[in-house]
């Protein structure tokens, strides 16, 4: 269980509060208008922004932990790979940040790359890959890190519908295999309906507690209707 108790994120002229619990093993969609604070919310959970209040994971307070100590892997919209390292190295960072990999580690890296559909691309540099392939490589690294919380900040926003569907399937598979809890920021209602069990709505300086997806869409908050334009 992820518990946010009086969590408050304050940046110059902007603040966001969250008070909620999120059950494990599900994909939760994070919805809301642009500039509403969805990315800020994820960045704060991952430890990149100073916050007040408590973040508890399985009862343990992790608010003071450094980003690397948190049980979290996060995928950004872009720049998830270091451009000067090849895919094997980029992925291998998920096992050992100093890249001193044993042969077993290397086999695990190759397997993870194969798992996301990048078999044999290990020596390639990120710039030779398409946007979707780069995000797959980042997912492979998240696979290896085996962190129970996966935060996805619109990492598939730039992909076409078919590719995005593939990626969502991959995320769903990873969730099932690793019993991970996924927070997915997205602008696409069809994505939400497809994979998300619950929805968090970020608007007006608050993150509202999770609502089951079906219920959320049956009775959307007025702000969400305005956002959808329906």
């Amino acid at each position: 269980m992820l518990e946010l108790e009086n969590l408050e994120i304050t940046q110059s002229g902007f603040s966001l509060a969250a008070n909620l619990c999120l059950g494990e093993g599900q994909i939760a969609a994070v919805l809301g208008p642009s500039g509403g604070g969805k990315s800020t919310f994820l960045m704060a959970l991952a430890g990149f922004l100073p916050v007040s209040g408590r973040i508890r994971w399985r009862g343990q307070d992790i608010s003071g932990h450094s980003p690397a100590e948190r049980p979290i892997s996060m995928l950004f919209q872009e720049n998830n790979l270091f451009p000067h390292l090849d895919l094997r190295q980029n992925t291998g960072l998920g096992i050992r940040p100093d890249l001193k990999l044993s042969s077993a580690d290397k086999a695990a890296v190759d397997a993870a790359l194969a798992r996301v559909g990048l078999r044999g691309r290990g020596r390639d540099l990120p710039r030779t890959l398409s946007g979707g392939q780069r995000q797959r490589a980042a997912l492979a690294r998240a696979l290896l890190r085996k962190k129970p919380l996966l935060l996805l900040d619109e990492p598939f926003a730039a992909l076409g519908p078919a590719l995005r569907r593939d990626m969502l399937n991959l995320v769903e598979d990873i969730r099932a295999e690793q019993e991970a809890t996924v927070l997915l920021v997205t602008h696409a209602p069809e994505d939400v309906r497809k994979v998300a069990k619950t929805c968090l709505f970020v608007e007006g300086g608050t993150v509202s507690p999770p609502v089951e997806t079906a219920k959320f869409f049956a009775a959307p908050p007025p702000a969400f209707r305005a956002y959808l334009g329906t």
Binding site: P50, M74, F82, G94, R127, R141
Partner: protein, 521 residues
């Protein structure tokens, strides 16, 4: 993400603090030595005043002329597109890497008593030019700093959105109105910092004063220090003068920090042509300006090349090889030291909350003229050991200090860029310490490191400053050898040395710069 939620790491603190201590000691210890030695009794001002006045006057005049001439030059470069424009802009960077003493030799070949211009004037019965004294010092300073000023102004101009020029053309603004609406704001932004930077550079360009100044009427403070130390061995007088130089330097630097904007070195200054905003008359003016500037900069360079080749024809002069070895060794040592210090300090500056203050402190410390540091070191070590014995290590040390501010200005923004692009990603993965440097920082900032190291090496290679205070008669760097050759009127040999020196400086710059970019992504 620019957030700095993470505390500064121990390693960064340790290396940064150590580097800061070294730099502070390197500057403050000599200054303390100077203060302890300098006694400002009555009468010192009378003897020091002429050199103070000359220093301020020539620096001010050089800065004014450089910027005044740079305005039409930058304007022409901005609004014209012609074959060779890129080359011309690169050429504007060349004097920066050109060793001062070499430039002086090139200028002498054109403007000197027996130079091309004097010969032409002689044929007209107008007599030869006299390049020694104020004329020559200012001429050399303009040669060095006109290109710098033009680049700084050009950057200012390029920051103006293209739409403003289009709008001016569409509205049919007269040249006067356009100048008032667009050019004046740019100049108001860029000219003061250009003036200040050039003033500071001209305040402490010892080699030019050494070669072209001299005599009671045209001696800079640094030249007076040199004479006090080298010929009169009057430590107290040298200390007094050094304190004065220090005070003026610090005042100018403090002033400069208020106005100066970061100058971008290297890189092309491209952008779309804006030639629609001018008529035929301005086209002719621009062509004349560009032509004159190109000739002014190129002629001395060609003279060095031509004279150097003929100077080398009889074979390498004695002492050249040894001097070359010493120069290269000093350049490599000072580059390594400067790179280590700059990296350590840049990391601290980039990650600490007080970063900008630390950076200002370091830049201010190093605005102290290297010559002042050298004088202080001379006074500091003289009671214990002969200054001659430590000539080479001290030159390397001071050259490193000389290069440090420049390196810091290149490296720190690069570190900031890496943090902005990949900081969160690396933090999330726990990439820290040495691994982070090796796997992330180093590969990412290699181009900047190579460029900065190249500049440091070339500057050290061509420097003729502190070495003149310390060098025993039988030890010399290439620039010193060249100066000694000029002093004994062996101009052909000096030209040969100049050519080797320029080639070596540019080669060092090229090798480091290239090394940084190799396999870069």
């Amino acid at each position: 993400m620019g957030a700095r939620a993470q505390p500064v790491s121990r390693t960064t603190q340790f290396f940064g603090a150590a580097a800061l201590l070294i730099v502070a000691a390197l500057v403050l210890a000599p200054v303390l030595a100077l203060l302890s030695k300098a006694t400002f009794g009555s009468g010192w001002a009378v003897s020091a005043w002429p050199s103070i006045r000359f220093t301020l006057f020539q620096a001010g005049l050089s800065a004014l002329i450089s910027v005044a001439v740079a305005v039409p030059l930058a304007r022409a470069l901005m609004r014209r597109r012609f074959v060779g424009r890129e080359i011309m802009i690169s050429l504007l960077g060349a004097p920066f890497l050109l060793p001062s003493i070499v430039a002086v030799l090139g200028l002498l070949a054109i403007w000197g008593r027996s130079g091309i211009v004097s010969d032409a004037l002689d044929a007209l019965g107008l007599g030869p030019l006299d390049i020694y004294g104020l004329n020559g010092v200012v001429l050399a300073h303009v040669f060095f700093n006109l290109p710098l000023a033009a680049r700084m102004l050009l950057q200012g101009w390029q920051a103006v959105p293209a739409e403003q020029f289009q709008l001016a053309a569409q509205l049919g603004l007269t040249p006067r109105a356009r100048s008032r609406l667009i050019e004046m704001p740019v100049l108001r932004g860029a000219a003061p910092s250009a003036l200040l930077v050039i003033f500071m550079l001209c305040m402490s360009s010892f080699a030019v004063a050494l070669a072209l100044g001299g005599g009671p009427k045209s001696s800079t403070i640094e030249l007076a220090i040199y004479q006090a130390l080298r010929f009169e061995f009057d430590l107290a007088a040298a200390a007094q003068l050094a304190i004065v130089q220090l005070a003026i330097g610090l005042a100018a630097a403090t002033f400069a920090f208020r106005f100066a904007k970061t100058t971008r070195f290297g890189g092309s200054l491209g952008g779309p042509a804006r030639h629609w905003d001018s008529g035929p008359a301005s086209r002719i003016t621009d062509a004349l300006t560009l032509g004159a500037a190109a000739i002014f900069i190129l002629l001395p360079l060609f003279a060095i090349l031509a004279k150097g080749i003929s100077g080398l024809a009889p074979g390498l002069p004695p002492g050249m090889l040894a001097a070359w070895g010493i120069s290269v060794a000093i350049a490599l040592a000072s580059t390594a030291l400067a790179l280590t210090l700059a990296l350590s300090i840049a990391h601290l500056v980039d990650s600490s909350r007080y970063g900008s203050r630390i950076e200002a402190f370091v830049l201010l410390l190093l605005a102290t003229s290297p010559f002042v540091i050298g004088t202080g070191l001379f006074i500091l070590i003289t009671p214990f050991v002969s200054p001659f014995a430590l000539a080479l290590p001290i030159t390397a040390l001071v050259n490193a200090a000389l290069a440090l501010p420049l390196m810091l200005r290149i490296i720190r923004p690069a570190l900031g860029r890496v943090r902005a692009n990949y900081g969160a990603l690396a933090d999330g993965l726990g990439l820290a310490g040495w691994s982070r440097f090796k796997l992330l920082t180093w590969p990412q900032i290699r181009p900047e490191l190579g460029f900065a190291a190249g500049l440091a090496a070339a500057l050290s290679m061509g420097d003729l400053g502190v070495i003149t205070l310390f060098a025993p008669p039988d030890t010399q760097t290439l620039p010193l050898l060249m100066y000694r050759q000029m002093g004994s009127y062996r101009m052909d040999a000096a030209a040969g040395t100049a050519l080797i020196l320029v080639a070596s400086s540019f080669a060092l710059f090229y090798l480091f710069d290239k090394g940084g970019r190799r396999a870069g992504t």
